[in-house]
Symmetry: C2
Subunit: 342 residues, 2 copies
């Protein structure tokens, strides 16, 4: 803030425009009582003086929340290609729009950068609160952002999110259902193509996969770690189909990788579902557009994003909120899963 920012006040704007302070207030609050010509004169004076109403004071006095923040620590290109994030953000936006509120979106290169950004947003009152995503085990954001008093909702299992109000899906239960279903169809060699091990929810899914396979007496199961991209899904599928103990069923951690897996099976002449069953995750529109259509662990990602936004408004309003599980992903069998023919 410059020296001028403390000197220029609403009085200066009113004087420059030749109106009362009340008129300036009406104009900036978009209320009736000033003519269009006067409003224009007031805005011109404010622009010339470099004055604007103090957003935080305005927001406090109005009891309105007009901006919330979301920082994502993933490469920009990956964000654009991942159906999950787009649907999630569109769900958040659907609730924000009802509240006349905008989303401040920022890609960051590291969690340390996110911490600094969240501090700036909050201390300068650019945002009324934030959505925190992609929790790691022992996530470094928790301590500094709790200390800051940032109103926030955490997307992730309460075991990862350190006391923030959290919204989460029960991934462990869903993975167990997926594996038990494939085993019930008769599959014994089941593989899992998962996300980066550093992400908390990826780790939860791998653990549940390996535990369920053991419970079923099927060994630990084959697991491949990926970066979530379609190319990663194609590469993992090729490698699994070339392995000595080729699986007869593969569970993918998102649907883009499952679409890629279907393409690889066709390319290698492995008929789906006769010789290979494929099960996708998230179930965006993609799963219904392929042939055969993809069976999936389905959840409503748009509704998930909407619920996250609702909980954030509760947190900002100071209402007591804790952990919010949303519906567990459920199995939607389509044409890509069947009993193994062998």
């Amino acid at each position: 803030m410059s020296a001028s920012s403390e000197r220029i006040t609403i009085r200066d704007v009113a004087a420059a425009a030749g109106v009362s302070k009340g008129a300036v207030s009406l104009a900036f609050n978009h209320k009736p009582g000033v003519s269009d010509a006067t409003r224009e004169r007031i805005f011109a004076a404010a622009r010339q003086l470099g004055w604007a109403p103090n957003s935080s004071a305005r927001s406090l006095s109005r009891q309105a929340v007009d901006t919330v923040g979301l920082a994502i620590c993933r490469p920009a290109r990956l964000l654009g290609l991942e159906p999950f994030y787009m649907e999630f953000i569109s769900g958040i936006e659907s609730v924000l729009a009802e509240h006349n509120c905008s989303l401040l979106l920022r890609l960051v290169g590291s969690l340390e950068e996110e911490i600094r950004l969240q501090e700036t947003w909050w201390r300068e009152r650019q945002t009324a609160g934030s959505v925190l995503v992609d929790f790691r085990r022992d996530d470094p954001r928790i301590a500094p952002l709790r200390e800051l008093g940032l109103p926030a909702v955490a997307v992730g299992h309460p075991s990862l999110t350190g006391g923030f109000a959290s919204v989460w899906t029960d991934d462990a239960t869903a993975v167990t259902e997926a594996v038990r279903y494939l085993a019930a169809l008769g599959h014994r060699r089941i593989a899992h193509v998962g996300g980066p091990a550093g992400l908390g929810h990826s780790a939860i899914r791998v653990t549940a996969f390996e535990r369920t396979m053991k419970e079923l007496g099927l060994g630990g199961g084959l697991h491949v770690e990926t970066g979530f991209s379609g190319e990663d899904g194609a590469r993992a599928t090729r490698s699994l189909l070339l392995s000595a103990d080729r699986p007869t069923a593969i569970v993918y951690d998102n649907d883009l990788m499952a679409v890629a897996g279907l393409g690889v099976a066709a390319e290698m002449g492995v008929p789906v579902p006769d010789e290979l069953s494929l099960l996708a995750w998230d179930d965006s529109q993609l799963c219904r557009l392929t042939h055969p259509t993809l069976s999936a662990m389905s959840h409503d990602v748009h509704a998930f994003g909407a619920q996250v936004a609702r909980v954030l408004f509760d947190v900002i309003a100071g209402r007591d909120v804790a952990s919010h599980p949303v519906a567990t992903p459920s199995l939607v069998p389509r044409a890509s899963t069947a009993p193994p023919r062998t």
Copy 2:
């Protein structure tokens, strides 16, 4: 703004924290010279009083641009399913991140709502400028936003964007190349599955499609208007494949619809490319994941978004910028196009 917002100044915060005004300034500008304990005391005092530095004055004094706006007038769900928009946004974000700048994103229900929102953002200095998208013919946003003096970059052909600096791809030339390529392969019955006629760039593509078909002596060509969703693409493809003069080649206006078209062809037992050639648009990762892989009119949507952000920074800085064509989408032939067998 309340009465209190004009009364509380940096002096009050300094007094409450027992420090000088300079110390408050250092703390809020994240500069050295105040201890951590003092900084915390200053922030606590500011929070208690409801004071924050005036963002616009701060931004003017720093000569920094920290937020730009983007309003999108499409249903939230559609946004989540359209690969184009998230790649475009991720391209914008990649340049904003270099400038330490965030994107204020808002879904709006109408262009009138967007006009009011842009006015508020700009007059209250919440944003330093905006990206304007999805231009209609005689777009109602042009006059009010030009009058407002909003620094903006328009995504669309200069014939649509009314004097705003514009960034655009030459869709007419790309459509002409697509149709001429299919005709060169020997196709005579070529169909076009396009977007909503109300969108300026959809209209430009339809006109170019019909003109090229006539120039080649192939009649006006079959055209189906859609809403861009995968389901729309599936429906349009089914209807075309059931028609009396079934086309042997289809050009789609995005890649999600082309993926759906490939699924419908498989479902109806129409071999691609032997009996049907499919040509996608935009060429996200999806086109390389299907089997057969999809030929596409390819452009780098991420780079397109990045260029839009660069031009916006030029506009905000007052540099003279006009129309910026980016690379024309170019044909990437893959396995879904071939001469017709009949």
